[in-house]
């Protein structure tokens, strides 16, 4: 569903991404791993329209994404989270969800005089369901930034899901989490896939992704150095070299 073809990104003289090509399929959990600074987040920013690509093409369900504005890409069905959590800080937990429903709701000037429509009630219920599923229901009235770190991560994912996307991009979802929290999170990601969505996640910690990804690509210094199933990746010499360095002969 997401086809990335020959994508390159230069920042001045620095080639952050070089001729990247790969596909993410429907209902797949796709992992993109690589050391810090390999260009993973840059690729996310290209997909979501935060940065323009230098050249190459990104297609999503047959739509060309390069050149589209971020909000149009979100409407096509791609939602994302951020490496450093970015919640709406002045809002409560539930408001963070409600605002993300706005592309599916009447949210223009007519929303000023629309309080009790059945559509609105339905959206409120959907928001409540989502909060319950993500274990945030009890906290719904709290300020978003007063949540614990792990809860903030979950809320950010919940906010992305409120867009009802076809593809969810997660930027280092397990960063800063302890083992129990990571375990819990991975379970939730599998559940998201089971609702028919594709998940594309970035991670620099290999152990996190090995368990849940169907397919993995490895990025190093802006180049794809390996791709395959988790088993293939674990056996790949190029990957071991990128992470651990070459063994002296």
């Amino acid at each position: 569903m997401l086809e990335i073809a020959h994508i390159s990104k230069d920042f001045g003289g620095l080639k952050a991404l070089k001729e990247i090509t790969f596909h993410v399929k429907e209902k797949q959990i796709y992992g993109l791993i690589g050391p810090n600074g390999a260009g993973k987040t840059t690729l996310f920013n290209l997909i979501t329209g935060f940065l323009p690509a230098t050249h190459g093409s990104i297609q999503f369900l047959g739509n060309e994404l390069t050149g589209l504005k971020a909000h149009k890409i979100a409407k096509l069905g791609i939602a994302r989270t951020f490496q450093n959590i970015r919640l709406f800080g002045t809002m409560t937990v539930k408001e963070n969800i409600l605002v993300a429903q706005n592309i599916r709701a009447r949210s223009g000037v007519t929303s000023l005089v629309q309080f009790f429509s059945s559509k609105e009630r339905e959206l409120q219920e959907k928001a409540d369901d989502l909060l319950k599923r993500m274990g945030l229901w009890e906290k719904r009235k709290e300020q978003s930034l007063s949540l614990a770190y792990g809860e903030q991560r979950r809320l950010e994912i919940a906010r992305a899901l409120a867009l009802e996307p076809r593809l969810l991009l997660l930027d280092e979802p397990a960063a800063g989490m302890n083992e129990a929290e990571t375990e819990d999170l991975l379970g939730r990601i599998s559940e998201i896939r089971n609702t028919g969505k594709a998940v594309f996640l970035i991670e620099h910690d290999m152990n996190v992704v090995m368990g849940i990804c169907d397919y993995i690509s490895v990025l190093n210094f802006g180049e794809l150095i390996a791709e395959g199933t988790p088993d293939e990746i674990q056996a790949s010499e190029a990957v071991i070299e990128a992470y651990l360095g070459r063994e002296e002969e």
């Binding site: 909000h71 809002m91 409600l98 949210s107």
Partner: protein
């Protein structure tokens, strides 16, 4: 009521509208230093229509405000690409262009000013204040209002959840310039006489101060700021020449002890729940 008191109350209405016009644009995280320019367009257009063409005051006001907001859209497209200080400078430049334009534009009197618009009464001024407050109140509780909150919290994330940030910014810029246009029309028709000096940069600056003092995160703040900035100079009048120094000192102290303004979102929320509780008790 003495004519003097009436005058203070009337100008308070105009000040509240000007503060709301600044607040509208603040909702999109931008500070406009050019709202006196929109006020001038609303004032001169409506005054010209009612004096020279004999159009009744209500349609004249409305056309004046629509003219102001149309110009708002025209300059909004290039200006809203700027952010922070650059936007402030851009709107400042716009305000000065408008003021100096009316200083030399002969059909509306040029430097002599424009005489003759009449008919703005206190109920009319406060009718408009009420209409706009209801509008801002509805906006603050709507999905559209929440989209604006998102834009203000983090514009980049707002676009990642599908919000058209440019359109939202343009929308509130329209609302802000419309509101300032109404304020200008009412001002002209209350004062019977306008000149370009009435729309000095200081008018824009005071409208911004109203919002900062009253509270940047709710329209109630703009309302309160408008009231305070209208009454404080009168209350301090007994101090004679020292008045303006005290006025300035109050501002400095305010910024030190409550930089986010008097009214916060949390206060509005708590008050709302308190009032709701009273109603529930009364009905049960």
């Amino acid at each position: 009521m003495s004519v003097y008191t009436q005058g203070v109350i009337a100008l308070m209405g105009v000040n509240i509208l000007m503060a709301l016009s600044v607040y509208a644009i603040v909702m999109a995280d931008q500070v406009s230093l050019g709202n006196a320019g929109f006020m001038a367009i609303g004032a001169y257009t409506s005054a010209y229509l009612s004096v020279k063409l004999g159009i009744p005051i209500f349609p004249a006001l409305l056309i004046g405000a629509l003219a102001a907001s149309f110009i708002g859209l025209l300059i909004g497209v290039p200006l809203l690409r700027l952010s922070g200080l650059y936007f402030v400078m851009g709107t400042f430049g716009f305000g000065e262009v408008v003021r100096t334009f009316f200083m030399v534009f002969e059909p509306t009197g040029g430097a002599y000013g424009f005489r003759g618009p009449v008919g703005a009464t206190l109920p009319m001024i406060y009718g408009w204040v009420l209409v706009l407050i209801v509008l801002f109140w509805l906006l603050s509780r709507s999905r559209l209002g929440r989209s604006l909150d998102a834009l203000r919290d983090d514009a980049e994330v707002a676009s990642s959840i599908g919000l058209n940030v440019t359109l939202l910014k343009l929308g509130v810029f329209w609302l802000g310039s419309f509101t300032a246009g109404i304020a200008g029309g009412l001002y002209a028709h209350y004062m019977f006489y306008i000149e370009s000096g009435n729309f000095h940069i200081l008018v824009s600056a005071i409208a911004i101060l109203c919002v900062i003092l009253g509270g940047m995160y709710t329209f109630w703040g703009a309302l309160l700021g408008g009231v305070i900035f209208s009454i404080l100079p009168e209350v301090l009048r007994f101090m004679g020449g020292w008045r303006l120094s005290v006025y300035g000192s109050v501002l400095v102290l305010m910024m030190i002890f409550r930089p986010s303004g008097i009214i916060s979102r949390q206060m509005v929320r708590n008050t709302g729940e308190w009032v709701g509780g009273i109603f529930r008790k009364a009905s049960s």
